[in-house]
């Protein structure tokens, strides 16, 4: 890999170095914008006892849910879970540790992790179970709690387009947590639908600068839809 060319040639190479007990930060919201092939590669590798940080945990047979049957996830930090039966079973039986984190706090914790901010204050969660064990403080007459940042050994990210330098562009609401995840990994691995040459992306319109990206691979995606809601053309 010379200079700034981040492109790797296989998913095996993309996830090389991932070991048991590591922390993995994943982009995606529901099944939208998830790094589905990088997740599948983790399943293939059989890495165990991972701490996974992601807004959701996929469904039974897609997304991060595929890591549940073989007990590859030890702990998950997420805002909304339980879209699948096996997750609920493992959580209820105590086999899987779940740290519920408000969605905005989770996004900000990832951003802070990438931005060298070890902690910040937020009103979110004050006075709720989320505040347990956390410092409380008043600013301008309002109560806040202190939240610490999150960093991962790996971050796995799905973008739409990238140039070979790792500059990323996301598409529509598949952006979600991906840009923050990209900043917060010691090793950030990105899969995209299309890789273009440097210079093809407008510098003003790059969502994630290549400096955050370590490895880049082009994949094909199922892009499963979780809730297909349709209107008929005349029912507008």
């Amino acid at each position: 890999m010379a200079g700034f060319d981040k492109v790797v040639s296989s998913y095996e190479e993309a996830m090389a170095g991932l070991e048991d007990n590591m922390t993995v930060i994943a982009g995606g919201f529901g099944l939208c914008g998830i790094p589905e092939n990088l997740i599948a590669e983790i399943k293939r590798k059989g890495t165990k006892d991972l701490t996974v940080v992601s807004n959701n945990c996929g469904v039974d047979d897609f997304g991060l849910g595929v890591l549940l049957p073989d007990r590859q996830i030890k702990k998950i930090v997420a805002s909304y879970v339980g879209e699948n039966a096996e997750f609920e079973r493992q959580m209820m039986s105590g086999e899987l540790e779940v740290e519920l984190t408000p969605q905005g706090t989770l996004a900000e914790k990832m951003r802070a992790g990438g931005a060298g901010i070890p902690a910040f204050f937020t009103a979110t969660g004050y006075g709720t179970p989320v505040a347990e064990g956390k410092e409380e403080r008043e600013f301008d007459g309002r109560k806040y709690i202190m939240e610490e940042s999150i960093k991962g050994d790996f971050a796995i990210v799905k973008a739409w387009k990238a140039d070979r330098y790792g500059n990323l562009v996301f598409r529509k609401t598949a952006r979600n947590f991906n840009p923050m995840a990209a900043t917060a990994g010691k090793i950030t691995v990105v899969e995209v639908e299309e890789i273009v040459e440097p210079g093809e992306l407008d510098p003003d319109q790059i969502h994630t600068p290549g400096i955050y990206v370590d490895r880049l691979i082009q994949g094909t995606f199922e892009k499963r839809i979780e809730q297909r809601t349709i209107r008929t053309a005349d029912n507008s």
């Binding site: 939208c32 909304y80 879970v81 408000p102 996004a107 900000e108 969660g125 709720t128 809601t229 349709i230």
Partner: protein
């Protein structure tokens, strides 16, 4: 008679103002979008990163990369913007959204809200609800006034784990429109045909009832 889901949405919609940025939670709040008054423009924020949420797509418009916070496929309106989750919650937490409408299991006289967890039964997570209730000045909670068994959801003190502390000022139930201030519920309006007595009976937190309680107008 108790309001239907649609009527609850219609009454909430009367609180909209032209130019409002609004976040609508899952369930009844979503229906509010169907009753925006004629000639008024509001823009819907979906916390997964969309300002200017439109209607469901046609078969032709269907796009897996285009969903709302309820994970339903949607479209974007003209003039919409799309952003990442940190930006979306910066907007919410920073108080830039004009109105938030969301459901709850319980609300109490101190403006506490419980809406995300029933220990031992429902532990799916708070999603963006804690951020929404902490970030908005203007929140309307919509819920049924009491459970099917007649247990009030308007309490002296929430019994379930809280989603937010001291942040709710307005509640619209199927029976009444209620304001919360100074540690009490205040009855503002009643559903058409519903008596003040019935509302008081199903409200377990202390409620101030003015001499005249108008019926909601639709």
């Amino acid at each position: 008679m108790a309001l239907s889901r649609e009527q609850i949405a219609m009454r909430v919609a009367q609180e909209l103002q032209d130019g409002y940025y609004v976040n609508l939670g899952i369930g009844i709040p979503t229906l509010v979008a169907n009753y925006v008054p004629q000639g008024m423009e509001v823009m819907l924020q979906s916390e997964n990163g969309l300002l200017g949420m439109g209607q469901f797509p046609t078969e032709d418009e269907l796009d897996a990369d285009m969903i709302n916070a309820g994970k339903q496929t949607v479209t974007a309106t003209t003039g919409a913007s799309i952003f990442d989750s940190a930006e979306s919650f910066a907007m919410i937490r920073g108080g830039h959204v004009d109105l938030t409408v969301l459901g709850a299991f319980e609300v109490d006289v101190n403006g506490n809200i419980a809406s995300y967890m029933i220990p031992g039964k429902l532990i799916k997570g708070m999603g963006g609800a804690m951020d929404l209730v902490a970030g908005a000045d203007n929140i309307i909670v919509t819920m049924t006034h009491a459970s099917k068994h007649g247990d009030s959801k308007l309490l002296p003190e929430c019994t379930l784990p809280l989603t937010g502390k001291g942040c709710i000022k307005k509640v619209l139930t199927d029976l009444a429109f209620i304001e919360i201030k100074e540690g009490k519920f205040h009855l503002l309006e009643r559903a058409p045909g519903v008596s003040v007595e019935e509302i008081v009976k199903l409200t377990s937190g202390e409620m101030v009832v003015p001499e005249h309680v108008p019926e909601m107008q639709f």
